[in-house]
Symmetry: C2
Subunit: 84 residues, 2 copies
Amino acid sequence: MNIDLAIAKILKKIRENKGISQEQLAFKADLHRTYISQLERGLKSITVKTLFKITESLEVEIDEFIKLVADELENVQSNKQTKS
Amino acid sequence: MNIDLAIAKILKKIRENKGISQEQLAFKADLHRTYISQLERGLKSITVKTLFKITESLEVEIDEFIKLVADELENVQSNKQTKS
């Protein structure tokens, strides 16, 4: 899994857990709904600056968000190593 | 202070503390030295993807790096509030 896909997965998971729609998140973070949708499909590389806006809107700490992404990438890699 | 400037400050500080030159960091992270220099002057908005490459090259955890950036932004804001 690449980084954009890991970010996509964590973003979608947190947003859904918070019960917020893509539209609501887009509005809160002053971004386009299409952009949120692209992020959640791993089609865009987000800047740290924009991630600050999104995590603020989701009311999560940005470093905790990034930790989840790093853990996600590590888990995928260790699963690969176990399988090979 | 904006986010790019906070990232610039933390990046430069960690790189210098580790005794690594901009050239060495650029080589390790497979980036251009000019780009590292622009980042350290807050002239570029880094993607999370590229920040992963840089923090790996600096041998620091990306979530710890981001925490330092968030703290830097918070300190600046609380200093502003104290002054006003």
